[in-house]
């Protein structure tokens, strides 16, 4: 199961403030795309447009060549899942309750807990390593476990496309690595198409197949990490003086600030 998500000449403005200007992008199928750039460059807005949370002012987002804003929202939810940046669940919710919510686009008021739902939910919880904590309250989890629970929810949605908005923001270094490794493993096993907004360009270079760099509402560079993470590019995107060296473990480009 694959699906193609792309946008053409996307422009988004709130009143007089332009957030995205003429952005065109196709997510490579079965690959991880990282969207990077300085604060307020429009990367989160781009992700929100891609999953129809935001309607663009001009241009179009297309899902399998159909304009996404005209598709039935439930049909879209069976193709595209989103892990938002700020996640908050109603109080008193348990891990399993949250993961079951991921089944929403496959459920109906009268069919809320089919055998398929049960199997997929159990699998998703196991996949993120929370089986032992499935009955715990979300509020009792640590930051890393909480993020895993939300990832299990979007996994249960069972979509070919997965969008993640800064999935590592509130986590310490080892947990950042854990979450991104989990995303990488899931993507490989299930052949998912993934796009995620990341702040850390070194993590992006390590875990993504393609990097899209935005600056001032526009795409300024796109391609494999080795093509995008170069000293002149980083200098242009972030205005940052740095050196780029291959990382000693895997040889991905790694930036060292001056």
């Amino acid at each position: 199961m694959t699906a193609r998500l792309s946008c053409e000449n996307l422009t988004l403005s709130y009143g007089k403030v332009t957030v995205l200007k003429d952005v065109s992008l196709t997510l490579p199928e079965g690959k991880i795309t990282a969207i990077v750039g300085p604060n307020a460059c429009g990367k989160s807005s781009l992700l929100r447009c891609l999953c129809r949370l935001q309607s663009p002012t001009q241009g179009q987002v297309r899902l399998n060549d159909a304009p996404i804003h005209k598709l039935n929202t439930r049909d879209v939810a069976r193709q595209v899942a989103l892990l938002p940046q700020k996640t908050n669940a109603p109080e008193g919710m348990r891990v399993r309750d949250l993961v079951i919510r991921g089944r929403t686009p496959h459920q109906s008021p009268l069919r809320q807990w089919s055998h398929a739902d049960q199997t997929i939910v159990d699998d998703a919880i196991e996949r993120v390593g929370l089986t032992a904590r499935a009955e715990q309250l979300l509020s009792d989890l640590s930051g890393g476990q909480m993020q895993r629970a939300w990832i299990a929810m979007v996994l249960a949605q069972d979509t070919p496309i997965l969008l993640l908005d800064e999935p590592t923001t509130f986590l310490d270094l080892p947990h950042q690595r854990d979450i991104l490794q989990l995303v990488r493993d899931l993507q490989r096993d299930k052949g998912l198409t993934v796009a995620m907004v990341l702040h850390d360009i070194n993590l992006a270079a390590r875990f993504a197949d393609q990097i899209v760099a935005l600056k001032q509402q526009k795409i300024v560079a796109a391609g494999a990490p080795i093509e995008v993470v170069t000293q002149p590019n980083i200098s242009e995107i972030y205005g940052l003086d740095c050196a780029v060296i291959p990382d000693p473990h895997y040889g991905h480009p790694h930036i060292i600030m001056k």
């Binding site: 999953c51 129809r52 949370l53 929202t73 439930r74 049909d75 879209v76 939810a77 069976r78 595209v80 899942a81 989103l82 938002p84 700020k86 996640t87 908050n88 669940a89 109603p90 109080e91 008193g92 919710m93 348990r94 309750d97 079951i100 919510r101 991921g102 929403t104 686009p105 459920q107 109906s108 008021p109 009268l110 069919r111 809320q112 807990w113 089919s114 055998h115 739902d117 049960q118 009955e135 309250l137 949605q157």
Partner: protein, 342 residues
């Protein structure tokens, strides 16, 4: 925490055992109250005689008391309680605020005002239901319109709603001054919330409405539970948020209008049913059915207490729901603001 999976044909549900148990106990309580409502009061009637009255074999006095006096009263109390419980829990869930129930944010006052308006100007009580519905819808539109801040903002809505409730109270009082003294006196009793002097025909209107809206409300719980997560999450899960909100508001106003047309604006039932249901179910959901049953228990109990009063003290049931409701309101306010501060 233990849950049970219910699967029957294509339908399937997952329910917490505690929720199932609570609902069964509440349903049992409702039945007990219904029966005692038919048997008890200032003129006690044995259970066997009540059954005989339904079979048409009882003596004329017993038949009259059971079928014409008590039956319309208890079925009205039951229907009103269910309707208010559903409406309250739906609004509180939608706005994620336990204070935002229809009786506090102006829907009930609007429905009451609409009903009084039809009686005052058209001089008939046959159009009370459409009048209450129109009043409730207008009040809802007014409250939402005035509190709109690039979307529905729950906090603002509660404050605006309280203002609208007060304003509509004045409008209702003004309307009453146009009426003659006896009509106004009868309406005052109704405006406090009364189950007295109900006829089976009036109860029928309530129950037909409830038979349509009740299942719709329970069905809508699926979308409502998801809307009460965050907007982003609900949308990306494929829930049409605007549609779900409008349906919630529509169902809630319609249920309140039905209840108000049948028994007047019984205070606090819609407000307390939800918090009590949550207390009974613990952290488990769903609570819509529980809230409806709690609402029914409150109205049936209020009716039972008002019947126990010595004759001459025929206080309307609304006085008793207010006696229960006011302390709960204060308690919820304290808990709510303590939570906000921490």
């Amino acid at each position: 925490m233990s849950t049970v999976a219910l699967r029957l044909g294509g339908a399937s549900f997952r329910l917490a055992r505690r929720v199932v148990l609570v609902n069964l106990l509440l349903a049992l309580g409702v039945h007990v109250l219904l029966l005692s409502g038919l048997m008890g009061g200032t003129y006690p009637i044995a259970g066997a005689d009540v059954v005989a009255a339904f079979q048409g074999t009882a003596d004329p006095i017993t038949s009259m008391v059971v079928l014409e006096n008590r039956l319309p009263r208890v079925v009205t109390a039951l229907g009103v309680g269910l309707a208010l419980g559903l409406a309250g829990e739906m609004m509180q869930t939608l706005l994620r605020n336990p204070i935002a129930s229809p009786d506090i944010i102006g829907f009930t006052a609007g429905a009451g005002c609409g009903a009084v308006f039809t009686v005052a100007f058209l001089g008939t009580s046959t159009l009370v239901v459409p009048g209450a519905l129109a009043g409730g819808l207008l009040a809802a539109a007014l409250v939402i319109g005035l509190s709109w801040q690039r979307g529905i903002s729950p906090g603002q809505l509660v404050i605006t709603g309280i203002g609208v409730t007060m304003t509509l109270g004045v409008v209702t009082d003004l309307l009453m001054t146009r009426m003659d003294a006896t009509a106004a006196a009868a309406l005052v009793k109704w405006l406090v919330g009364s189950l007295q002097a109900r006829s089976l025909d009036e109860a029928k209107v309530l129950w037909i409405g409830l038979a349509i809206l009740g299942p719709l409300a329970l069905r809508h719980q699926f979308a409502l539970a998801r809307v009460s997560m965050s907007e982003e999450v609900a949308t990306s899960l494929g829930v049409d948020i605007t549609r779900a909100r409008l349906i919630t508001l529509g169902l809630s106003v319609a249920l309140v209008a039905l209840a108000v047309a049948a028994a007047g604006p019984l205070p606090f039932v819609a407000f307390v049913a939800g918090p009590i249901a949550h207390g009974l179910n613990g952290k488990n959901r769903p609570t819509l059915l529980t809230a409806a049953l709690v609402g029914a228990i409150i109205t049936l109990s209020a009716d039972a207490v008002s019947q126990l009063m010595p004759s001459g003290f025929g206080l309307p049931a609304g006085v008793f729901t207010a006696l229960v409701g006011a302390p709960v309101l204060i308690w919820v306010l304290l808990v709510h603001y303590r939570k906000q501060r921490s």
